[in-house]
């Protein structure tokens, strides 16, 4: 990636949040996983979004994706969810008098399940903490789709040379010194781009300033070990489809279990030695017993 620090810094300055946020003291980071110092992200605020979907169109254009017009779930939802042509979507939640828009895209987890799953590292967390896909390393096994708690990676089901499609925070645009397409076009600054720590401060400032406007939590600060995309909402996050994951990173359980079994690969090697020795020692006995059993079998006609 040809992104240099200066152009990234310039972007952060333009993120709007910086001036106010910089005045606040830095909060102690309590998430299980320490974010990378260069982690970039998004902050989306449901109270600001008017659901115009300009970000959806801009995303498709920036990523050369044909707009998905095939399947609609009513007047607003088109398409219904993220898919191989849709890396970014605005969905409408409506239940009685509760209404909210919700933007969904890759969360750029601090400790992603997808990169843990991926056997040859086709999905990796690289510069700025962006999780990106490398087609040369991907066999199309779709284990990332099983692993991702946010249902984000999508597979090209109708292609004979399928790719995994997901938001990569417009890393090609970042390299050109631009910000992601979705934040650039948002007319209400409902989604803003910047360094994760700056965005987190901005989110907390809004919570402090308007305590009655929001659910008192920044989703993504600690959820699933923390994500680089952060959310503020006036409705409970789980109603908007953001799962309750707890603060433990999703890959932690598999690390605990497999780590216990495979530390230093000692257990498998020891097992091989023991089994090899046992087979070597038992071999002659097995042959004898087998011959005896065969003989007995012939006599008995069993």
């Amino acid at each position: 990636m040809g992104i240099n620090r200066r152009s990234a810094l310039k972007l952060m300055m333009s993120a709007g949040a910086t001036a106010t946020a910089a005045a606040l003291p830095s909060p102690a980071d309590a998430s299980t996983v320490a974010p990378r110092p260069d982690a970039l992200g998004l902050l989306y605020d449901t109270t600001l979004c008017v659901g115009c979907k300009a970000c959806v169109v801009a995303c498709n254009r920036a990523n050369d994706l044909a707009p998905d017009t095939g399947w609609s779930g009513g007047l607003y939802q088109a398409p219904l969810d993220l898919n191989a042509n849709t890396k970014n979507i605005i969905k409408l939640y409506q239940q009685g008098s509760d209404r909210s828009f919700i933007k969904r895209q890759c969360m750029q987890c601090l400790d992603p399940a997808c990169t843990t799953a991926c056997m040859m590292g086709a999905l990796t967390k690289g510069e700025f903490g962006i999780v990106s896909w490398n087609g040369d390393r991907c066999v199309g096994c779709r284990y990332c789709e099983i692993a991702c708690p946010f249902n984000v990676p999508k597979f090209e089901w109708t292609s004979s040379n399928p790719r995994i499609v997901k938001c990569e925070l417009c890393r090609d645009r970042l390299a050109e010194g631009k910000e992601p397409a979705c934040t650039e076009v948002c007319p209400r600054k409902a989604v803003i781009f910047g360094k994760r720590d700056v965005l987190l401060l901005e989110a907390k400032r809004r919570l402090e300033e308007h305590p009655r406007r929001y659910v008192p939590k920044v989703y993504g600060e600690h959820d699933g070990g923390g994500t680089q995309v952060l959310y503020l909402s006036h409705l409970p996050f789980e109603k908007l489809g953001l799962p309750e994951l707890g603060d433990t990173p999703v890959p932690q359980m598999v690390r605990d279990v497999q780590g216990t079994i495979y530390t230093g690969f000692i257990a498998p090697l020891a097992l091989y030695g023991l089994v090899g020795a046992a087979v070597f020692r038992n071999r002659k006995g097995v042959e004898k017993a087998a011959a005896a059993a065969a003989e007995k079998n012939e006599e008995a006609g069993v």
Binding site: A147, A290, V302
Partner: protein
Amino acid sequence: MSARAHETSPVGGEVFTRPFILLAAFFALAMLVVAYRFAVGLGPVTAMSDAYPWGAWKPFNVIVLTALGSGGYAMAVLVYVLNRGKYHAIARTALLTSALAYTSGVIALGVDIGRPWNFWRLIFVTTWNLHSVLLEVAVCISTYIIFLWLELSPAFLERWAQGKPGPFRTIAVSWTPRIERAFPWIVAMAIVLPTMHQSSLGSLFLLAGPRLHPLWQTPLVPLLFLLSCYLLGFAAVTMISLLSSATWNRPRHTRMLAAVMQVAAWIGVAFLGIRVLDLVWRGQSHLLWTFDQYAAAFWIEAVLVAVPSVLLLSPSWRGQPGTLFRLSGLVALGGSLYRLNTSLIAFMPGDQFGYFPSVLELIVSLGWVALAIIGYLYIVKRFAILPAAAAAPASSRG
């Protein structure tokens, strides 16, 4: 191994029988679907989606069928590690079943994955993501197939060594002593590799986290998968042995198979005991009484393992070949359902999504099974796999 020479013998006879031709025709049909799948992608052929990305192929053809093909592994542990040489007579039946199940499973995987042309890169250690459970599974299964066929190779080598002079005979003559020398270390590898990947097939689903129903999502999933592969391996070998003996009029070895299933029954009891203790320990046992589809799936699975396991503990139940066959079938169903539940049915991507396999998807799935059966029919007829017929045609009693 020379001691086997008089234990086993080829069935002989016509290969192209009617069942063989029917299975081959079905396999050919499945291959047409496979060709279509490579032309248009997975979407038009299968019912898989971004919510259910694995559909039927990985859960059935790999996760369930390699467990049913774990007989070679389970019998090797019994014969060579626990030193029970008397089970040797059915060792080759078990090995052939395993080799065919695994081979068909890996071919199925090659059709299932979207970009199979990148798979070869796995030979470079530099590409390995050591945190990936799937890496371990992929490397272990690919390597294990080689060791399975090596373990079975004496069956082919001893025939070729006696055949007409030619390349096969040259290979057989030069390789037989090498294989014999290396045999303990081949067997040891063929025990360690499945111990690793059969448990890790379960660990794959640890990463599904809260998207796997809590009745199945447990840190003990590798242990439960390991136990279930013994259960399924023993049950499948028993059924295939009994079927083969009945079909080709071979000695039935009912007593031996009953002893194998007695071991399997204790494993079934241990499996269920661990399953229940785990639920209690994790504080999830109340979910058993919720009467939703997940509780139902659990109960069906548990009953299918529990009932035959308990009955198989009684000598009178397991002594009759017909009953032994049916009880083994129930064990195989229950163990398979456990694996299908973990890998597909209890996967919860969201209430708005559903999955049921498409007809074409099922045709391909069953096509790989047909391939394995065709392979079995051919190999037992031409090579010494099945127990040799008794010298005296005394009685057909089991």
